[in-house]
């Protein structure tokens, strides 16, 4: 099997056009596979996903209320040594971020010592002053982190974004593996692929570890905004896999600073809430008063130490795009270690020099909203039109502090099924890092792939797909 020399690092071919060692067994197997059989498997996968109802909703798109995320049959494979490096780097990064959050909501030594400008943290829209001085169990804030990693240049890894609020996508990671094992069981006999299906056990264990002190057999629940949320499938999936109740705000109530759920046997005490609702909607008495999703009085129970929220309130101050450039400094400051994973160089447009540079180079940079997510509100310079750039320029000039810019990384590609056959498409990786008494993760993560030729936007809301991610055990 041969392929044209790639324009950037390719997961299967590297830079040289030769199949890399960790892909060899898969490539041999693929070369022998009949095209008809593949086409049939693709169809089978579609039917199965539809049947199982693994869907997501796209906001503002009524026709596609429940849409399938396209699933690609070519796996993304990582060799053992690369994964070990990534794993160490991710654990290091998330430990530093949790230490930073504890610091920010207590002593603020990193600000006092001038390593990060205090204004940047304290005036950040994601900073929650109500959390100041409040202890959380184990000093853990971001129990679940979804760190977006990409590979660029000659194959080196960069962290693109630390998602510390309510990161989603782990259900696709698990379902993709199930699907691959169902469609191509023989591939799993050919090589040793690290298992991932214990993720729900690890997550439940993590949530139990952070229960309020003194609670012996904690009751853990998952709090969802409801069936119309885009990630509802994931909420039901995780609750089911962990064997815990999936609750909505209306199912909970607070009495004497204690949280209860309404059951067919009366009210039952709740100790840990894995919440998939943003801070703003958690408690109408403290945050947005118009929230119908939250629970009145929840914050008072939190403050009294009678309930653990995972993730904690106020984690957004650490994953905000304006804080991102400082993560390497956090690692050195709190851990005294050199960062293992690279940060992408970032221009902060509130700085005059940076703003000037970025406006001059809009056509080659990626500009993102500081508080944006999901691929909304960003400009990919090289792929943009003159008109789009002109429009973005105006938005930036009006509100420079709302934006950051980064060089357009030549994201790595991976062979992917497209209408014309198999062709390289850009991808990223979101491993899920769990922090309780220790920091753990299952090997791999969710690989997202941009299905449009040349596109660098992998978000499912923007037409991205997903792949199974394999970490080889040797």
């Amino acid at each position: 099997m041969t392929a044209p020399p790639p324009i950037c690092f390719d997961e299967m071919y590297g830079l040289g056009g030769e199949v890399l060692p960790h892909y060899r067994r898969y490539a041999d197997w693929l070369a022998k596979l009949l095209p008809e059989r593949l086409a049939q498997k693709r169809q089978e996968a579609d039917v199965l996903f539809q049947r199982v109802g693994i869907t997501f909703a796209v906001y503002g798109d009524e026709a596609a209320e429940e849409r399938l995320i396209p699933f690609d049959l070519v796996p993304r494979i990582l060799p053992a040594d690369e994964w070990h490096m990534l794993e160490r780097g991710l654990v290091q990064r998330v430990r530093a971020l949790n230490l930073f959050l504890r610091d920010i909501y207590h002593d603020q030594s990193i600000l006092r010592e001038g390593i990060i400008p205090p204004r940047k943290a304290l005036e950040n829209a994601q900073y929650r002053s109500v959390m100041q001085g409040m202890r959380v169990p184990g000093d853990t804030y971001a129990h679940v982190a979804g760190v977006d990693v990409v590979r660029a240049g000659k194959g080196e890894f960069y962290v693109l974004e630390d998602n510390l609020r309510v990161p989603s996508g782990v259900s696709y990671m698990l379902e993709n593996r199930k699907m691959m094992m169902r469609l191509f069981p023989e591939l799993f006999a050919l090589q040793e692929i690290a298992p991932i299906d214990h993720y729900p056990d690890l997550l439940l264990d993590t949530l139990r570890q952070v229960a309020p002190p003194g609670v012996v057999d904690p009751t853990v629940v998952l709090l969802t905004p409801g069936a119309y949320n885009s990630a509802y499938f994931e909420h039901t999936f995780l609750a089911q896999q962990m064997g815990i109740e999936l609750v909505e705000g209306q199912d909970l109530m607070v009495r004497d600073q204690t949280v209860y759920m309404r059951t067919t046997r009366g009210s039952k005490r709740v100790d840990v809430i894995y919440r998939r609702i943003d801070d703003d909607f958690l408690d109408p008495q403290v945050f947005r008063p118009d929230s119908l999703l939250g629970v009145a009085g929840l914050f008072s129970a939190y403050q009294a130490g009678r309930i653990t929220l995972a993730n904690a309130i106020g984690t957004g101050v650490a994953d905000d795009k304006s804080m991102y450039p400082h993560v390497p400094e956090m690692i050195e400051y709190y851990l005294g270690e050199k960062p293992i994973l690279n940060n992408v160089p970032t221009w902060q447009l509130r700085k005059k020099d940076d703003l000037h540079h970025v406006l001059e180079h809009l056509h080659e940079l990626v500009v993102k909203e500081v508080h944006g997510s999901g691929g909304y509100g960003m400009l990919v310079g090289p792929a943009s039109t003159m008109a789009q750039r002109a429009e973005f320029r105006e938005r930036i000039i009006a509100n420079p502090e709302k934006y950051i810019a980064q060089p357009t990384l030549a994201l790595s590609t991976c062979p992917t099924f497209v209408d014309a056959g198999i062709a390289p498409r850009h991808l990223d990786l979101r491993p899920f890092v769990l922090s309780g008494k220790e920091v753990r993760l299952v090997p791999g993560g969710l690989t997202r792939v941009a299905l449009k030729e040349g596109s660098l936007v992998v978000n499912s809301s923007q037409g991205g797909g997903t792949k199974d991610t394999w970490v080889l055990e040797r």
Binding site: G53, F237, L246, E248, R262
Partner: protein, 319 residues
């Protein structure tokens, strides 16, 4: 179990059972409509069969807001695929599927996949398609999907409270439906003295029995002609006929005994009262009171039971 979860599961199974019952009801109506009208004697009054599904389900007003005339095609469309009719097969399956989607963590994967498959299939059906070649195959399909779902539920679901609420929903809906179907006779033929036991009577009673899968059961039990008295006995008092009121109340009473605790006794008490009415009832007494009146009283009691189940388990209020 969360009250909201119990509520969703209860309504999920009620709506699947409802879809099945509507299919049964429409099938029997369809068969009745094929009966030769000419066997009627002059002066006999015969309610138009296509009015029945509307009367039984209390949908006549709703129907006449949309259609001016009573056409078989219109009634069929209205009751099968019309999304705007909340009691259509389409709407019932949609609601059941939405309830299941909200609670897919509380049911087995197989249950969810089976119901989702049913929904995906019914969503893609057109009326032209189900009308072509007779509507019966479609009704059979709906019944099959309901049977399948019930079987999957039995074969895969944990016997927890959720299972009890699913069963409770099924049997309350079924009891309600069997009572309504029996009452159909009251609306259909306004008898003149000579036609009892006549051809029309026979066809109607046998169609009615078939609609609740009780025709061969009747034959097996009586090996004799069909009489209203015996039909009532089979569908009301016999507890070995799976869709009879007594059989439904056996299940409901037993389920509620399992769900009750000292703070939640009223649903069980009321179910016990209704159950006793059937367990110790006599057909003569029912006919003395008048079948129609008796059925109306029964439906009222079932409605009250539903209210109590709601109040104590599904949407309780707390201090």
């Amino acid at each position: 179990m969360l009250s909201r979860t119990a509520n969703d599961l209860y309504w999920m199974s009620r709506h699947i059972e409802r879809a099945e019952n509507i299919a049964r009801m429409l099938d029997v109506t369809y068969r009745m409509s094929l009966l030769p009208y000419r066997i009627l004697e002059p002066g006999e009054k015969w309610a138009e069969p296509w009015a029945l599904p509307l009367i039984i389900n209390g949908l006549a007003t709703n129907y006449y807001q949309r259609y001016s005339d009573l056409e078989s095609e219109h009634v069929l469309h209205f009751m099968t695929l019309d999304a705007s009719n909340p009691s259509s097969i389409y709407a019932s399956l949609l609601t059941a599927r939405e309830n299941a989607r909200a609670q897919r963590g509380a049911i087995s994967n197989e249950m969810w996949e089976s119901l989702n498959d049913t929904w995906l299939a019914v969503r893609n059906k057109t009326f032209a398609e189900i009308g072509a070649g007779g509507v019966s195959p479609f009704f059979d399909w709906v019944k099959d999907r309901s049977h399948l779902f019930r079987g999957v539920t039995f074969g895969t679901m944990i016997r927890d409270e959720g299972f009890s609420f699913i069963r409770l929903g099924t049997f309350l809906e079924r009891a309600d439906n069997t009572a309504r179907i029996l009452d159909v006779k009251y609306h259909t033929l306004l008898p003149s003295a000579h036609d009892v036991g006549g051809a029309v009577d026979y066809y109607q009673w046998s169609a009615l029995l078939r609609s609740v899968s009780a025709f061969s059961i009747y034959r097996k039990i009586y090996r004799d002609v069909i009489t209203p008295f015996r039909v009532a006995e089979v569908l009301i008092l016999r507890d070995d006929v799976p869709r009879s009121l007594h059989a439904c109340m056996n299940e409901i009473y037993e389920i509620l005994q399992g769900l009750s605790d000292e703070d939640r006794l009223e649903p069980e008490r009321l179910a016990g009262e209704i159950h006793a009415m059937l367990h110790y009832g006599r057909t003569q007494k029912i006919f003395q009171a008048g079948l129609h009146e008796w059925l109306l009283a029964f439906l009222e009691k079932i409605g009250a039971l539903n209210t109590e189940v709601n109040k104590h388990f599904l949407v309780p209020s707390y201090q």
